[in-house]
Symmetry: C2
Subunit: 205 residues, 2 copies
């Protein structure tokens, strides 16, 4: 509309918030960044951040160019029966990663992310707090556990997901690439479920 | 000894073989490289390659600056009882990765390797044929299985090892970093053993 072809003000504000979030995540890490600090950096009211983004994890996905709302995916997984959390988590994870819309951005994120200490810090914070952390905190069998026990289980579930990402999308191991997502859910779902179940006992506990 | 400070001939030959191997792996991939082709490229008799290196995997480790002979590690794991292969494989793997001599080279290899398509091809060939492939081919419960079944199991074991590498050494998930190697063997050993056991059935088989 304007002679210089300026975008509407809403688009500008949204872009300013995303740019401020990228800078804030880089400076303070994922865990150390608050929506308030991002709003301050963007020079906008914190309520505007909430207007455009559902929360910190949605903003992180946007900064990382990943067209998925991770909080919504986890919420959907956790709305299913507790005994199916392992399979449902893997199914949701594979659905996002196998989708042609998300896969290129995710593969690029992992490739570049792993070679940058700064980006690794952000990814760890995100996986710990808002991805697997959400599962561990909400699952009936794990939510009451001591903190160390929860960290170990979260780490072992992360091991499954990170291993799957490398084996299927980066290293491309033939047996994993040629498996359907449902075959992988059948193999790895029980393993993840076992890491959530109360019968699973970590040594020394 | 010589006025130009030349190294002895043996050192020169060894270095020429390593340089030729690096070039051959880069050109033909790990699976496509033969010791014969490496010898030809280095302009030496193939018997000289065998004199300096126990085999292709030892040469690969040398090219990648990893101070470990992978074939010897796998041979030692496979000399133990079959029902302890999962735990022994993880224990050997963690011993190498936790060692201050090998860890920096291995972490650097993964960091740079994952961002290079060419290096990923070499790593996949190596893991498939000489690392996990050896375990699957020699383990009594898996050595007679159809090729696809063996590939899937190898891929799922690779998923465990790759996930552990990322979670412990690259992303550094707190619960995995603070666990001792024996705690990790206790957690993940049974999972790897389960992927080797005959009771484990892949869907459709």
């Amino acid at each position: 509309m304007s002679p210089r072809g300026r975008r509407p003000a809403g688009e500008d504000t949204r872009a300013a918030i995303v740019a401020a979030a990228a800078a804030e995540f880089a400076t303070s890490g994922y865990a150390g960044s608050s929506l308030r600090a991002i709003a301050r950096r963007a020079g906008v009211d914190p309520r505007l951040v909430h207007h455009y983004f559902e929360g910190k994890s949605a903003l992180f996905a946007e900064v990382m160019h990943v067209p998925v709302n991770p909080a919504a995916v986890i919420a959907q997984v956790m709305s299913g029966p507790p005994e199916a959390t392992g399979a449902n988590l893997l199914r949701a994870f594979l659905t996002v990663w196998d989708s042609p819309q998300a896969q290129p951005a995710l593969v690029a994120l992992v490739r570049t992310g792993l070679s940058s200490e700064e980006l690794v810090d952000q990814l760890r914070g995100f996986v710990e707090r808002d991805l697997i952390g959400q599962v561990i905190r909400k699952h009936p069998a794990t939510k009451g556990l001591p903190a160390k026990e929860r960290r170990v289980r979260a780490g072992l579930i992360a091991t499954q997901m990170l291993g799957l990402v490398l084996a299927r999308y980066i290293v491309r191991m033939p047996g994993i690439v040629e498996s359907t997502s449902e075959e992988l859910v059948a193999h790895l779902g029980p393993i993840v479920q076992g890491l959530l179940d109360p019968q699973f006992v970590t040594p020394g506990s």
